[in-house]
Structure formats: C-alpha cells, structure tokens
C-alpha cells in the first residue's frame, strides 16, 4: 500500500520535510473531527486538542511575553511579546510596559490563522511564530485573541481586531522615540490575513495610521470555482469543501462567498481607489488551492493604485511558515523584516 493517490497523500509528502508533513497532517485530521456537517463545531474537543502555552515574563532566548486584558466587557485578551531588556535580568510587573527604548520600533499587531474557527493567541504554533517575528524583525508583537466562528460570526473578529488596533495605537509606551508615534503593522496568516485587510480598511476610514499590512496565505474566496481550486483540491492538505464549511461558519447566515468579507474585490466589493490604505506585503503559497483568490486580492490592490508587493512561493504549501526548516520560511521572514524596518536593518 502506497498512499492511495486519490487522496493526494503522495503529492504533499514530496514537497515538505517530514516533520512539517506530520504537523500539518495532524491538524488536518484533527480539524476533520471538529467540523460537523450541520455547521456546528466541537469547541470542547477543539480546546482539548489545541496545544497551548502560557505567557512567560521570564525571557526565553531574549524574548518575554505577557497577557493583557485590553477590554474587560469583551473579555478581549492580547499576548504581547517584547525583546528582553539588557539591564535587568527579569522584568517586574511595571517593567512589562516599560516605554520602548529605541528610536524606531515596529509594533506588529498579529492575527493568528485557523480559518476563523481554530487556534488562539496562546496556541503553541502561534506563540512560537510570534517569538520568531520579534527576534527576526526586532519588533514588538501584539497577538490578538479574537472571537472565533461559528459561535461568533462576522463581524466579531473584525471588531476585536479594531479594538486591539485602537488600544495599541493609544499606548504611549509603544511609541518610537524618534517621533513619539506608535508604528503599527498589521500581520496575519490565513483568516488572520483576511482580518488584516478589514481592520486596515477601518483604520483608513478612521484616520488611524497603519504603516503596513502583511498577509500570509490570506483567506479569501468567492462563489466562482477558480482554476487553482479545481486543480489543487485535496492535493496539499486542503480541500474546497472544507474551505466552504469555514466560510459558512464565519459569514452571516444565508450569505454566500461573494460577501465582501470573503471576496473584497468581487462583485460586491468596495473600491479602494483614493483611500489612504497601507502598503501591503502579500505572500502566496504556490500549492495553496485558494491562490487565485489571493492573487486577485493583490491585483485588486494594485488596480486601486495601492502599494503592494506580491511574494509568490511556487513550491510552498499552507503552513510553511510554522516551522523554520524550509527555504520559504527564510525568504518570507527576510521580506517581513525589511518591510517593517524600511530604514534598513
């Protein structure tokens, strides 16, 4: 028995390292158990299975983290990651929010992925990713624990993202010394990337300055079945039917995938022309079945006269950025680092 080719197990094995294959296949199998055909989600089992890590105010590899309840009524939690201070070995309670010492520090507001339904800010994979971002970009990362579908549909995740952005932008301790302003970048993978777009839009309308958007394999879609969806369905860990399930879980009941939250440049999309939208870095994995939607997104930004850089990684699958054992990881991290540190680092 070789893996039966009908389920595409053989293709995915060829393009990722073994431990990456194990990790992503593990998620795929577990997530399969959580999605019920009637659209409900086994949240208890999901929380049981999700590997979480607590914050750690003691620096590990030069980075410490702590959780902040930024809104009690909404119970909105963020996990903040900072480089350790060189002078003191261990931060005390007050030092956690010690004002930034550098001339310029990018503050990355991060939205974890999970197709709107899975994971949390304290999921191990995302805690690890955020720590890497701090180390590589010399940034402060604020990871938002937004409300998830299907219990909380559109626009809950966006509202939480907006709340977090407002909170971050009003923290004096996050201001860069050079201009006493908070330099905010929005970043996210999968559904997090989708949230980045909406929050940035809202920020532009409210005239809160966002310095840049980073979208890693962002989750977009539409009613049409694109070539990439047809060609790659079920081949590299992801299938169309499950994508559909997550959109049904997130979008308002009765809506279809041309809803602007799913398809921002589709038939019901809104024009971004003339809007002061941040520059965008859009990373697309060449083996992601929704790449046509992601490429359309980048194109839509371009057509609206917005600044966008597209990074297309031909042989990358979903989740490539979760482990640093492939070239794509390094390519992307380099790009992100340059993107948030424009003065060269």
């Amino acid at each position: 028995m070789a893996g039966s080719n009908g389920v595409g197990l053989s293709e995915s094995k060829m393009v990722v390292p073994l431990n990456m294959w194990v990790l992503i296949s593990n998620f795929k199998l577990k997530y399969n158990l959580l999605r019920r055909p009637d659209g409900t989600f086994d949240r208890h089992l999901a929380e049981f299975l999700d590997r979480k890590v607590p914050a750690n105010a003691n620096p590990v590899d030069g980075i410490f983290s702590f959780d902040v309840i930024i809104d009690r009524t909404m119970n909105l939690l963020c996990r903040i990651y900072r480089p350790a201070f060189t002078e003191e070995p261990q931060p005390s309670l007050i030092d956690l929010e010690k004002p930034v010492d550098a001339e310029f520090v990018p503050v990355i507001v991060f939205f974890h992925g999970g197709s709107f339904a899975h994971s949390s800010a304290n999921s191990a994979i995302y805690d690890t990713l955020c720590r890497r971002l701090v180390g590589i970009c010399k940034a402060i990362v604020v990871s938002v624990n937004y409300r998830r579908a299907p219990e909380n549909r559109y626009p809950c995740a966006y509202d939480d993202g907006w709340l977090a952005l407002k909170w971050v932008s009003s923290r004096s301790w996050l201001q860069s010394k050079i201009d006493s302003k908070v330099h905010i970048f929005l970043a996210g993978d999968s559904s997090g990337g989708n949230i980045v777009h909406s929050v940035a839009l809202r920020a532009a309308e409210a005239e809160i300055e966002v310095s840049g958007n980073i979208l890693l394999n962002p989750m977009f879609g539409g009613e049409e079945r694109t070539e990439s969806e047809k060609k790659l369905d079920g081949k590299y860990f992801v299938g169309i039917r499950e994508r559909d399930w997550y959109w049904r879980a997130f979008l308002p009941e009765g809506e279809n995938r041309d809803h602007p939250a799913c398809n921002p440049f589709g038939p019901r999309g809104k024009s971004l022309e003339g809007i002061k939208f941040p520059k965008s870095l859009v990373v697309v994995a060449g083996l992601d079945l929704i790449q046509d939607w992601q490429l359309a997104y980048a194109k839509g930004l371009e057509k609206a006269g917005q600044e966008v850089k597209l990074l297309f990684l031909e042989q990358a699958t979903i989740g490539f950025y979760l482990l640093p054992n492939n070239n794509h990881f390094y390519t992307v991290m380099n790009e992100i680092s340059s993107f948030v540190n424009p003065n060269g680092k």
Partner: protein
C-alpha cells in the same frame, strides 16, 4: 534533522515496526477491536524529541517520526474510505494527552474496526523511504531539495534557538494595569521584597510605612490596590516576626466553605477528581476513598450519587476522612461522616465511614487507614501535598515519608489537585513576585465573577491567609509551598507513581461545569494528561491522577498486594452503617 542514511532508516523502520506491533495489537485482531484502557504510560521525555514539533506542542521522537507519519496516513485513508467513522472518533472516543502524537494516532486507529484498513497492519513491505524508487512509488517522504533542514549560507535571517519544551522558570502574567499609583505601589512592593531578601530590615520597614500611605491614595476595592494591601500586611507581619495569624480549625473550615462557594477552583478540583475516581473504580465492588482533608466532605455527595447510578449497581463505599482533631469534645469528623452516611443510605449505597483525626498529614500512619486487600483504593489530595514540602532543618520535609506510604497502599488511583504556581522558590524575591502575579490573577477572577457576599469577602480572607503564609513564614511554619505541575510530575515520578491521563471526556465535563459560572474568562486547558483551570489564559489550579508504577519488589508491611485484574472480589460483610473515628495519639 539531518539527511538520513539507509542504515539509520532501517533501524528506524525496525523500531517503528516493533512499536507498532506492541501498541496496536487490538487493531490487528480479526474481529472488532476490544475496548482498550487508554491510560498510557508517561515515560520521562526522551532526549531525541523533534525540536521543531516540540515548539508546536507535540512530543515526537525523531526516530519515531516516520512511523507516526505512516500512522497518520493510515488514519487518513481509513477516514476517507469511510467518513462515517468521523463522528465516532469525535464524540464517542476518548482522546488522551494530545501532545503525545504517536499514542494519539494509535488510539484513534484502535477505535476503528479493522475492516477500515485495506492493508496489513504491520508496515512491512514499505520500500526504503529514502530511496529514489520510493519517491517514484509515492510511498515515502523525500528530503525535497527546496526543503533543506539547515539554513542556507546566504540567508541573513537567524532564527532564535527553539525554546525549551519545558520551561524551567515560567512566570505568567495576565494584567490590566491602569493607574499610575498602582504602578508606584508595585514598584515599592518589589523594592521592599528585595530589601527583605538582602536582610535590610530597616529599609523594608520604612517601605512598608510608605506603602501604607500610598494605599490611601489608591482604589483598594479592586485590582492591584486590593491585592497590594494583603501583601503589604504580610510584609509587615514578617518584619515583626509574627508570621501568619493563628487560625482555629473552625475558622479555616468557614473560610474554606466560602471560598468553595465563591469561585470554581475547588469545585473544579473535586469534580475532576471524582470523574477520575469513578473511572478507576469501574468494575470494583469494594472501594475505599481516603480523603486527605475532609473539611465538610463537600466533594463526596457527588461521588456517592454517581456510584449509586452505576449501571451494574453501586459498590460498597468506604470513606476515610482525615482532618484536624476537634476541640471541645466535639467529633466533627464523625458528624460529617454521619451526614454522608445519611445521603448514601438515601440512594442505597452501602457506606462505611472512618475519621482519622490528625493535626498534620505526616502524623497519619498507613495502618490507621485499615486498607483491606480486597478493595480498590483511591487516595484524594486536594491542595494538601504541598504542605508536606517544608520543614525545620535539619529535618527532611515529610513528603519523603508520606509518598512512599501512599504508594505502599498500592492505590488504584491517587487524585491530586494543587495550585499551579511556584511559591516554593528558595529566594524570597522570586517567591514574592510569583505570588504577587498569582494572587492578582486569582483576586481578579473573584472580582469579575461577582460572587455574593459574604462569600466573596470570606473567600478573600481565605486567600489572604495563604498570602500571609507565603510571605510571612519560613521553615515548617511555611506550609503554602505551592509548586507547578512539572515539579509534581518529577517528584511523583521519582516516588514511584505514573500518570493516569485525564481525557477529553473529563475535559468536556469540566468545561461544561464552568459554563454554570456566567462570567466569561474561565477556561480549562489540557496539559499532557492533566487538566488546569485558567483565568484568562493563566493556569491557576492543576488536577492530575496517578497510580503506583509497577515495581519488582513488594514493599514492606502494611502492604497489600492488590489484584487489579480481579473484578469479582467478594467483600467481607460490613454493617450498613459504620462510623468510626480514630485519634492517633491515643493508639500507640
């Protein structure tokens, strides 16, 4: 993860085959898979764990990676072939210890009827996964050229080293710091604690005065102001050599009861322990629960009722409750026993109670518990073990003698609940800092949960006692020596216990219990077979279950060889209602 050479691959494949045959025997039988007891061993983490997967929360040995991959593939194929199995795996199967990916996938496979597998279960016949021929067959994984395990020389990105899977010094802070005066207060507290550690009593004393003055300018009804007040008092007492205020057993019980009512922590501990005990007692007709701290016996009505509802009828339940001696000629233990006996009688559970009065747990000797060879024993310790970690030098902490006698009882299960915090660090400042964060979170949850008075005020006093003890006492007097799960795992492992994993069913029920508390903010988390109750992502209480790891030699006297496999034990006749109490000092 370097490139593999063929001999290593062959060795890995052989190891994988051996592991597969030993752990999945049930799926290889011709008929339907027999019901498995999913209580897995927890081996001390082997050194060759895949570091990247560890960073994702999964413990997989590098040598096992290929084997796990094959099993995942097999599981996937089975589910694709028959999607009807999915609801079974999701709702009926119990999941354990998801961090151990190998055993998780094996347990999932064992849940499926062997007809779902179109191929022989042993992975023999797999081509060498690292040969080009295998790649052509699609049967194996290849080190694809674009996926080099090491960073390329031209990359200017340096990825920080993997964080250790087990943090040595975890310090979790959940905060919502707002006012400046709060910040000043915390600063003063830290400085004061630091001066205490240095032995600078006069500076510490003047700081205490300063902080008392600061308190008048801060909102002491909530948040940092409230917690700070208790820590300032505790520091003051320490400097005066007063230690904790002496408390009568009665006072302790009252405060405990209100703490129980005000927030879910004790209920979570009781509930989780009862679930595990119920499962452990399955199939046993004579069972004996030993409660290390009976208090008002709040934990036991639920267990009695659950046992009453057992499909094959309730067992004979013996309960031995340990508690402090009662003053004034009362026998509080007996009174509690009587009440529980009443309840048991009302639901037709044969019940016998024994009270063991002891001021300290270390005064209890195993013979007082009168454990019989024919019964299944559950030892239940809710926030008690940590009290055994302190001593006045040169004596050794009593835990060293208590754990062995527990083990000598060969309990079917030992349920343990402890505060998930490190309040036993040798350095005072470290302890103080940890406690400040821990109790801030705890008080925060009390605040938000808005329990009724007087529950809330008395619950706070209950916690204040703990703070006073941690900050104000040393040696044998300092009994609140909380330690986190990792330390208990190591300690219990060394003492000859192995974990019984709490699974997704216990998790789900604990989560549902929490929804009874209307406040959002509480959550249950799974931690390698243990369950923790968290407030806003900060674990506060950890519940775990243990059993004696098998040994070669039988332990000495008082030990009783339990025959676990014999479920058909007949019990010697015991009267319907039997209440006894013993006071150790009177029996020598």
């Amino acid at each position: 993860m370097g490139p593999f050479d063929p001999s290593a691959a062959a060795a890995a494949a052989a190891a994988a085959a051996a592991a597969a045959s030993s752990s999945s025997s049930s799926s290889c039988s011709g008929g339907s898979a027999p019901k498995r007891h999913h209580h897995h061993h927890h081996h001390h983490p082997p050194p060759d764990l895949d570091g990247l997967l560890a960073g994702a929360g999964y413990k997989v040995r590098s040598s096992e990676l290929h084997h796990v991959a094959q099993r995942l593939e097999r599981l996937e194929t089975a589910l694709v072939n028959s999607a009807a199995h999915i609801p079974h795996l999701a709702s009926d199967a119990v999941h354990y210890n998801p961090s151990d990916l190998a055993s998780w996938v094996d347990s999932m496979l064992s849940e499926l009827p062997s007809s779902s597998f179109s191929s022989p279960c042993l992975p023999s016949g797999f081509p060498d996964p690292y040969s080009p021929a295998a790649a052509a067959l699609g049967g194996g994984w290849v080190d694809h050229p674009s996926c080099s395990p090491h960073p390329q020389p031209h990359q200017n990105v340096v990825v920080p080293q993997q964080p250790q899977p087990q943090q040595q010094q975890q310090l979790t802070v959940v905060t919502a710091l707002e006012e400046d005066s709060g910040i000043q207060l915390v600063h003063a507290l830290m400085t004061c604690a630091e001066s205490v550690q240095r032995g600078d009593a006069s500076l510490a004393g003047s700081l205490v005065e300063e902080m008392r003055a600061l308190l008048t300018r801060v909102d002491t009804s909530r948040g940092i102001g409230k917690v700070a007040g208790y820590f300032i008092d505790a520091l003051g007492r320490r400097l005066l050599g007063l230690g904790s205020a002496p408390a009568s057993a009665f006072e302790n019980e009252v405060l405990y009861h209100h703490f129980y009512e005000a927030c879910p922590y004790l209920k979570f501990a009781h509930f989780t322990a009862n679930q595990a005990i119920l499962e452990a007692f399955d199939g046993h007709d004579c069972v004996h629960v030993i409660d290390f701290n009976l208090m008002h016996g709040l934990q036991w009505p639920a267990l009695i009722q659950a046992l009453a509802l057992r499909p094959r009828g309730p067992p004979l339940l013996r309960l031995t409750g340990i508690g402090p001696p009662s003053p004034d000629g009362r026998d509080v233990l007996r009174e509690i026993g009587l009440r529980l006996a009443e309840l048991a009688r009302s639901v037709n559970v044969r019940f016998a109670f024994r009270g063991v009065a002891a001021s300290r747990l270390e005064d209890v000797k195993p013979w007082m518990l009168q454990v019989s060879p024919k019964e299944a024993v559950a030892v239940n310790s809710i926030m008690q073990l940590h009290r055994l970690l302190g001593s006045d030098p040169p004596r050794d902490p009593p835990i060293g003698s208590v754990l062995p006698w527990i083990r000598s009882l060969n309990p079917k299960i030992m349920t343990v609940a402890e505060q998930e915090a490190n309040h036993n660090r040798p350095g005072f400042l470290d302890r103080f800092t940890e406690a400040l964060y821990y109790y801030s979170t705890l008080f925060d949850s009390l605040e938000a949960a808005c329990p009724v008075q007087p529950d809330k005020a008395l619950a706070e006093m209950y916690l204040q006692r703990e703070i006073c003890n941690i900050v104000g006492c040393e040696g044998a007097a300092r009994v609140e020596r909380h330690e986190p799960l990792d330390r208990w795992r190591a300690r219990l492992g060394r003492a000859g216990f192995r974990p019984l994993h709490l699974g997704s069913n216990a998790f789900k029920q604990a989560s549902m219990l929490l929804t009874l508390f209307s406040t959002e903010g509480y959550s249950v988390e799974e931690n390698e077979g243990c369950l923790t109750l968290c407030w806003h992502s900060r674990p506060l209480i950890a519940a775990s279950a243990w059993q004696a790891a098998p040994t070669v030699v039988n332990s000495p006297a008082g030990v009783i060889n339990h025959d676990d496999n014999n479920n058909q034990l007949s019990c010697s006749p015991v009267p319907m209602l039997s209440i006894e109490t013993d006071i150790p000092s009177s029996i020598q």
